[in-house]
Symmetry: C2
Subunit: 326 residues, 2 copies
């Protein structure tokens, strides 16, 4: 690969002059600048980013840690975050931890080694490590505390909305399939769901827990196998992908959706439109969550004061075909 | 963040000694090594990766460029590639281009700036740029030529398998929904499909093209709206996500899958199991493609001779519920 030495040889200029030109860090005559640029173009020279980071003390790189790329929520969040960060001039180093807490800890330390300007972490597990991390950090989906700013959909509100949406379309015997205990977001959905149901007297609710720790390995048999589906007219599932698997199971058991059992998911990922019937769900507004993450992280990088340590973005009900028309 | 100077102050040792210890690049006494390690632990020091790269001339980082994270094929490929590369001691810098050729060119040059040890690029568009890129590069899904090694599912074979699978379950009027012309992989699926159909005399095939350039924006109305579905008993769609959208459309128009129309996808992504009926498809073996990509790229980084410039991995038929039982 072409180096600064090659440019020095071609132009007859010192590496100090060339470095000043490339880093835009001091006087270079018009004539020398033209010479250097011609040489750069000719040999297709790309400045060494590592030298630039050591020189500038800023990497313009953000570390993004997600627990899964095959969970549509995180795939879509990563896509939107990358787009928004690129627009602000940042590159991304992405780690996928497969919800493994050791992988996450390794990723945080790798990113520190890369001297990233900031870290964005989705559904984090290493609270203590992240609370004391020495770079600006923003978490989404799970709150950490400490100096880490938390940006999340209002999952408690979303849980309430899911209950009320099912209640409003006529469900009176509602099953909630709850996410793994370790995920704060799905705990809050459960609490919101329960809180809203407490206000109604003519409804029965039950909850079963899903305890596996990886979304796509949601084993529907182990969760729904112990349940008599005749007992329910509505099911609220903790996320869209688990709702899709549940719908497939319910249909196979001979129940019609939404006629026999109505189903609500959570996320409003692209999956909802691909299923038949199309999935009614609670929307986590990707664009808004991403924009808050990026704006907040950049403010922290600039050492601006952050007023709110937790920013909750309002969720919305999206009704499609897996629930009855009002 | 803690620096080498801090360790020097704490231990009273020179930065040369500390650097030798950290980079494992020369003699350090047992006593000094212990002192340095205690200081590192105490202040939670992480060596600067950029200094290490400049010193070692190797970054241990691989650049991964994918056209989409919301296409399950690329989400799963990125997941498997990252796992396999981590096992070999490499980190990943990931770029998602949204199938934008300018974004891809930008990503390639950013990765060159990071002095990555190698580049893996999925469904590339900038053939000329990549052919002459000055780091080892492997492409998957699309062949580039030049020094770039191409690892891909055997898409032509897959197209033949898709036709034969539909023929074997009784389809005689088959529609192929073809991918965008710019994607070599889907062109080859089309050619294989056509080639296999030429060998049968009792079958009619037709092809319509999908010309949008982003998978999830596959506008089913614009493609299937002009088609009379009564004319077909089988449909082969260029990938799983487009097959899912097509299935949803077909069902809405009142046709039963597989009784009226049988459907085959392509990829064998996790989506197949989420749909109802579950999608029959052609499998691209993710693990095998990823392993070939990683092994080949590492051989190239080690300057080993690569015998084959194109490695094609065999595809397989996976029958589920969207086709009839044999």
């Amino acid at each position: 690969m072409a180096t600064m030495k090659d440019i020095s040889k071609m132009t007859g200029l010192s590496s100090g002059t060339i470095s000043r030109y490339i880093n835009n860090s001091g006087y270079v005559s018009r004539e020398s600048a033209d010479k250097i640029q011609r040489a750069i173009d000719e040999i297709n020279y790309i400045p060494n980013e590592h030298a630039r980071v050591l020189y500038n003390k800023s990497s313009n790189v953000i570390g993004l840690i997600v627990p899964s790329l095959v969970n549509p929520f995180f795939a879509q969040m990563a896509t939107v975050l990358e787009k928004n960060l690129n627009e602000k001039g940042y590159s991304i180093i992405l780690y996928n931890t497969n919800d493994n807490s050791k992988e996450e800890a390794k990723a945080v330390n790798m990113l520190r080694g890369f001297r990233v300007d900031g870290i964005l972490v989705g559904r984090p597990q290493n609270r203590d490590l992240l609370k004391k991390v020495d770079v600006p950090a923003v978490s989404f989906e799970t709150e950490i505390g400490g100096d880490v700013v938390n940006i999340t959909a209002d999952n408690f509100l979303g849980g309430m909305q899911a209950f009320n949406a099912l209640y409003d379309v006529g469900c009176r015997k509602i099953l909630h399939i709850k996410g793994p205990d370790i995920f704060e977001a799905t705990e809050l959905r459960y609490k919101g769901f329960k809180e809203a149901s407490n206000k109604k007297e003519d409804v029965l609710i039950e909850t079963i827990s899903f305890s596996n720790d990886f979304d796509t390995e949601f084993s529907v048999e182990s969760v729904l196998g112990s349940v008599d589906l005749n007992d329910y007219d509505g099911i609220f599932v903790f996320n869209d992908i688990a709702a899709a698997i549940s719908m497939s199971y319910i249909t196979k058991k001979g129940f019609k959706i939404p006629d026999d059992i109505q189903v609500m998911g959570f996320d409003n990922s692209y999956l909802c439109e691909l299923l038949s019937p199309k999935l009614s769900t609670i929307e986590q507004p990707f664009d808004e969550i991403s924009k808050e993450c990026v704006d907040t992280l950049i403010s922290m990088i600039k050492n601006e004061k952050i007023e709110e340590k937790t920013i909750r973005v309002k969720t919305n009900v999206v009704l499609r075909e897996s629930t009855k028309k009002l």
